[in-house]
Structures are given as structure tokens and as C-alpha cells.
């Protein structure tokens, strides 16, 4: 609702956008009527909601195509990028956090802290540009924009480039896909690595002070076995929570990163839609971000039940 309201309040008339500059007043009025822009705002809102419930997000002013289809085309790219960014963040941050916790107060801990804080503090558009300058400008290792090089295509099975390449056995495309993913995924991951590694560190330290860890020592278990069997599983719960919360940052971060790396996802699409005040498209994309966010959080909540027996009903 906030999105809908703000967009309607923004200056500029959608009809101007739909028509050439030299359109007559009559044409403008006609267009407004056709798109329902002449009706009162609450009617427009009601219409929007009832359409949304039927997965009808309207038609883009600019692309003259159903918003639903436009999003459908671009969504896999965004999900793919976010997935790899999250995967990278978790794979890097969790071991770093665990290491820092086990070496608390030592040099390793301090180094990880510095890395974590810089990761959190650096804005991703700036990090993105630095990475482009270094890895594609200077080292020429990774491409700086797009999803695949010109001429390389994969048969569309799921819409996810790397998955399609894998399924169809196009190894070149798979390789290229990952090369193109590298920089945007890294940029997106860096911001999360900071927070996830800090939380991991804190929760491993907390878990280490639990009394049952004492019990495990008293059983004669080695430090290693205790860490693996008792510390880490118990530390995992707050880490999963923070990953859930970080999904929000992931989504907002992906918009900027997609724009910086010309990634053909819904973030870039949203940026374009806002630039030209394409209202249906903007509202549609924002609504899909909301749905993605809610779905992911639901998945996280379901995941808890598998990790923590206390959340399961008693079998007794």
C-alpha cells in the first residue's frame, strides 16, 4: 500500500510517458481513460489489489507487455545471483566466525574482525566498482557486466543459467555462467559475510559457555569432538536466524548490484521502471520482492523445526 501511494504521489503523469511529446490533449485524455488513470485513487488501489490477487499485475507502460511476464523472464537471474551470493557468504563467513570464536583473543580473531567490519561498512556499489576495476579492468579475469557472453546460449529449461547449462551439458556455458556470476555474487556476499561471521563468532562463544559442554568435557571427549558434535549444532540456531534476517539485505543489495553489473534480473528492471515512472511495473516488482522475502522467511522458520527438537511437539 505504501508503495502504491508513494508512486501515485510522485510527480509526472503516466500518460505523458505513454504518448509522444506532441500528443494532443484529447489523446492524453483518451489514454488516461484507457489505463484507468482518470478514476479516483481508491478505485485504482482497489483495482490493483483485486488484480494482484489474480496474479494480474497490469501492463507495463514502457514495454507494453504484461508485468507478470516481464518479471517471470527476469526473476530467475535475480534468484540465481542471490542464491550464489548467499551460498558464498555462508561458505566463507561461517568457517571464519567459527575460527574466530575458537581462537578468541588471538591474532586470527582480530583479523577476522577487521575483515568483517570492513565488509559491513563498505557500500556495495562502491565495492562493486572496485572489484570491476581490479578483476576485470586490471587483471582481466572476470567480466564486468551481463550474464553470459554474446553468442553463448543455453537451452531454457528452468531459466537458471547455471542449472540449465548443467542439465543440458553445455560445459562452456556453465563455465562462462560462473565467470559472469563471480563479481556480482562476491559484491553481494561481502556485505553479508561481515554480519554472518560476527554472529557466528558470538553464538559459538555463547554455545561454549553452556553447561552441557562441561558435561561433554567430563565425558572425556576431545575438544575437537565437542566442537563438532555439541558446539556447532547449538551455535547454528542463531546463525540461521541471522541468515533469515540478512535475506532482506540480500534483496535490497541485489538491486544495486544488478544495476552496477547490468545483471538482467528484476533489480535492473526495477531501476529502469522507476527511472521512467512505469507504475505497474514498479509496483509489480516491489510486490514480488515482498512475496520472495516472506516465502524465504517461512522456509527459515520451517528449517528451525528440523534443527531444534524443542520446537517439535512431544512425541510422548
Amino acid at each position: 500500500m505504501a508503495i502504491f501511494g508513494l508512486l501515485r504521489l510522485a510527480p509526472g503523469d503516466a500518460a505523458d510517458l505513454l504518448l509522444p511529446d506532441d500528443a494532443t490533449d484529447e489523446q492524453v485524455a483518451e489514454t488516461r481513460e484507457a489505463w484507468g488513470l482518470d478514476r479516483p485513487i481508491w478505485i485504482q488501489y482497489g483495482q490493483f489489489l483485486s488484480n494482484l490477487a489474480r496474479f494480474d499485475l497490469g501492463e507495463s507502460y514502457r514495454y507494453r507487455a504484461p508485468v507478470f511476464e516481464l518479471i517471470g523472464e527476469r526473476l530467475p537471474a535475480t534468484l540465481e545471483l542471490s542464491f550464489y551470493a548467499l551460498l558464498l557468504a555462508v561458505v566463507v563467513a561461517v568457517p571464519l566466525g567459527v575460527l574466530a570464536a575458537l581462537k578468541k583473543g588471538k591474532t586470527v580473531d582480530a583479523v577476522v574482525s577487521v575483515v568483517a567490519v570492513s565488509g559491513v561498512s563498505a557500500p556495495s556499489f562502491w565495492v562493486g566498482i572496485l572489484l570491476v576495476l581490479f578483476f576485470s579492468g586490471y587483471l582481466n579475469l572476470f567480466p564486468s557486466s551481463g550474464q553470459l557472453p554474446y553468442g553463448v546460449t543455453v537451452p531454457e529449461i528452468t531459466g537458471f543459467v547455471t542449472l540449465d547449462a548443467l542439465l543440458s551439458g553445455s560445459w562452456d556455458a556453465l563455465y562462462e555462467g560462473f565467470r559472469y556470476l563471480a563479481l556480482p555474487a562476491l559484491t553481494l556476499a561481502l556485505a553479508m559475510i561481515g554480519i554472518i561471521s560476527r554472529i557466528t563468532r558470538a553464538s559459538v562463544i555463547d554455545a561454549g559457555q553452556e553447561e552441557h559442554v562441561f558435561t561433554a568435557v567430563a565425558k572425556g571427549m576431545s575438544r575437537r569432538a565437542i566442537v563438532r558434535r555439541h558446539l556447532l549444532p547449538n551455535a547454528a540456531i542463531p546463525v540461521v536466524t541471522i541468515i533469515g534476517l540478512e535475506l532482506g539485505a540480500l534483496i535490497s543489495g541485489s538491486i544495486i548490484v544488478e544495476v552496477v553489473f547490468s545483471w538482467p534480473g528484476i533489480g535492473t528492471l526495477l531501476f529502469q521502471a522507476i527511472s521512467v515512472r512505469d507504475m505497474p511495473l514498479t509496483t509489480g516488482i516491489v510486490a514480488s520482492y515482498t512475496i520472495i522475502f516472506i516465502t524465504l522467511n517461512l522456509l527459515i522458520d520451517i528449517f528451525y523445526v528440523f534443527v531444534d527438537p524443542r520446537l517439535r511437539g512431544s512425541k510422548g
Binding site: A218, K219, H230
Partner: protein
């Protein structure tokens, strides 16, 4: 006073070294650069099959004694001085790897808080099995059979079902019983019970104590029972050590120490016990507080709270007096 033979020194099997032997044992904790003495010059023995109770107020150093025997805290946090041996094996400088072999094996321990002493994310049976994985080479199937056997020993009616439960599905008393089952998994010689019933209500307390007592008789287990509950000590202990401000004030057979206390502190402690309120008179606690390890002075540490104390008590460190074989007190004017 009749002679009592539960004492190791008097028993015919004296050739066997005591399960635990502490001689002039002192413990220090490190706090940054400071090294604070929390237990001074403690000597006692625990014979095979003996129920030894260590009593004292909070902060007297009882729990630290238990942790020192298990060496649960790393050397940089808890330093041990003097002699401490387990069945003749000196524990003070035993390599960590060998110490690990004893923990949960020949020496096992149960804790005060059954609610937090078990890993909430692991099934009871798995947690018991884990102890066996460390100390024995039983196969999975054998371990599982043993788990059920142990759980029925601590009086669970449906051991197979309990083994598959998580700690949150059990009550406090049930968890403590599960802890006991875990502690017994490798047939230990010594069970250290650090206030195992403090967090439980009275009926459950009794049940847990009966289980410990029965298993002790069945397996010829020595028990180091740490408590401030004198009625339990009176009921179950063979021998008692009374710890005050890091010093063993009195140590001897239960009949002597509880029955005719020699040290004014023991007497005062007994006077606080609620079971003696039969005359309807409200008992008062001991006035004052336990001195902190930071302000220990020469002389008797109890003298500020002792109604018999005079200048002589402050003058010099109080030596240990042997009242009779196996009964010691650290008081210059023992009551009996």
C-alpha cells in the same frame, strides 16, 4: 565414641591405594595477572566404595575441588599445588590425553543443573552412547543395548523410548537420572556428584539419592558427594569433610563429625539445619559471611564468626589436630 571401620587407614584392604588421595592440596584461580588461592592445604582420602561428603557454604571451594579432580578447567585458569592422586596415579601433572581417558571412564561426574547439563539437540541415548564411544570399543548395537540397560538401572520403565527422547521431553528428575546413567556407562570407580539434588524437589531428591546409593553398593563405587544439605549427608555419607573458606575445618567419620562435631563451624552449621527445629524455636544462621579469598589472614578463618574465638585464634595458622584415627580438626580448642 566407638571405633568405625569405614576409614581406609583402618580397613584390612589398606594395601590398595585410596581412590582419591589429597595431600596439602591448594588450588589457585587466575584472574588476569592475579593468582588467587581459593583452596588451601586440604588433605583427605576416599576409600574404595566409600561415600565421602564434602560440605560447606557457597564459595567455600567445594565445586572447585570437584573440578580440580576432573581437571575440568585448563591449567591457565585453575592451578593445582600439592598432591592429588587417583588410585595411586598422580593427577596433578598427568598429560591431558591420559586425563581425558579417566574423565567419563574411571572418574565420572554429575552436575547440579540437570536442566542445562544435557545437550538439548541430541537424543538421550546418543548422549549416553557418546561416552562409550570415547572409552570403549563396543559396537553400535552393543552400545545401544547398554544404553537401555543403563536407563533401566536408573529406573526408567521404558528405556528404549527414553533413549530416543530429547532432554526437553524429560523432567528435571528424569534428566538427572539420565545423567547418572551416562556417568555409569563405563563402570567408573569414582562418581563425583556436585550438588546433584539441589535443583530438584524433595521427593525427586530422595529418588535420585536412593539410585546413587543402590548403584554404589552394586558396583562398589566410591562417591564424592558435594552438598550443603546436611540431612542428606547424615543419611548417606560414610565420611564427611567440612570445607570453610578454602580450608578443611573438620574431616572424619560421619558419626563423629555430624554426631559430635569438634569444630565450632561444623556445630554452627548443624545448628542451622532445619531438621533440628523440632523444639519450634527458629534457628538463626551463622552471623557474618564467608571471608572472600582476597582477604584471608593468618589464623583461623572462622574466628570472626566463632563464639569461642579469642586472640590466640588470630595469632598463628591453626594446625590440624588428630582427635582419633581418621578424625581431624583445624581448631585449637575442639569442642569434643
Amino acid at each position: 565414641m566407638t571405633p568405625h571401620t569405614a576409614n581406609a587407614a583402618d580397613s584390612p584392604a589398606a594395601a590398595e591405594p585410596p581412590v582419591i588421595s589429597a595431600r596439602n592440596l591448594s588450588l589457585f584461580v587466575r584472574d588476569g595477572r592475579k593468582r588467587i588461592r581459593i583452596v588451601s592445604d586440604v588433605s583427605f582420602d576416599i576409600a574404595r566404595g566409600e561415600f565421602f561428603a564434602l560440605v560447606g557454604e557457597s564459595g567455600s571451594g567445594k565445586t572447585m575441588m570437584a573440578r580440580a579432580i576432573m581437571r575440568l578447567l585448563p591449567k591457565r585458569m585453575l592451578e593445582i599445588e600439592g598432591e592429588l592422586s587417583f588410585s595411586g596415579v598422580p593427577l596433578t601433572d598427568l598429560p591431558e590425553a591420559r586425563m581425558r581417558g579417566l574423565r567419563g571412564g574411571a572418574i565420572s561426574m554429575i552436575f547440579q543443573e540437570p536442566m542445562t547439563s544435557l545437550d538439548p539437540l541430541m537424543q538421550i541415548g546418543r548422549q549416553i552412547e557418546e561416552t562409550m564411544e570415547v572409552h570403549s570399543d563396543l559396537r553400535r548395537k552393543e552400545r545401544q543395548e547398554r544404553v537401555e540397560q543403563l536407563l533401566s538401572e536408573v529406573r526408567f520403565d521404558a528405556p528404549a523410548k527414553v533413549a530416543r527422547m530429547y532432554p526437553n521431553e524429560l523432567s528435571g528428575g528424569m534428566r538427572q537420572r539420565a545423567m547418572i546413567a551416562m556417568a555409569l556407562a563405563n563402570n567408573p570407580k569414582l562418581l563425583i556428584a556436585d550438588e546433584p539434588t539441589t535443583a530438584l524437589d524433595v521427593t525427586i531428591q530422595r529418588e535420585v539419592m536412593e539410585i546413587i546409593q543402590r548403584l554404589r553398593e552394586k558396583h562398589d563405587l566410591s562417591v564424592l558427594f558435594i552438598s550443603h544439605d546436611l540431612s542428606l549427608v547424615h543419611q548417606y555419607a560414610d565420611r564427611v569433610g567440612v570445607l570453610y573458606a578454602g580450608m578443611l575445618m573438620e574431616c572424619g567419620d560421619e558419626r563423629d563429625v555430624i554426631g559430635s562435631s569438634a569444630h565450632p563451624y561444623t556445630a554452627a552449621l548443624l545448628n542451622c539445619a532445619p531438621r533440628r527445629r523440632i523444639d519450634g524455636e527458629r534457628r538463626q544462621g551463622i552471623p557474618g559471611v564467608v571471608p572472600s579469598p582476597l582477604n584471608w589472614e593468618t589464623g583461623c578463618r572462622f574466628r570472626d564468626r566463632c563464639k569461642y574465638a579469642d586472640a590466640k585464634c588470630a595469632a598463628a595458622p591453626v594446625p590440624v589436630t588428630e582427635l582419633k584415627a581418621g578424625w581431624f580438626t583445624r581448631c585449637i580448642r575442639p569442642l569434643s
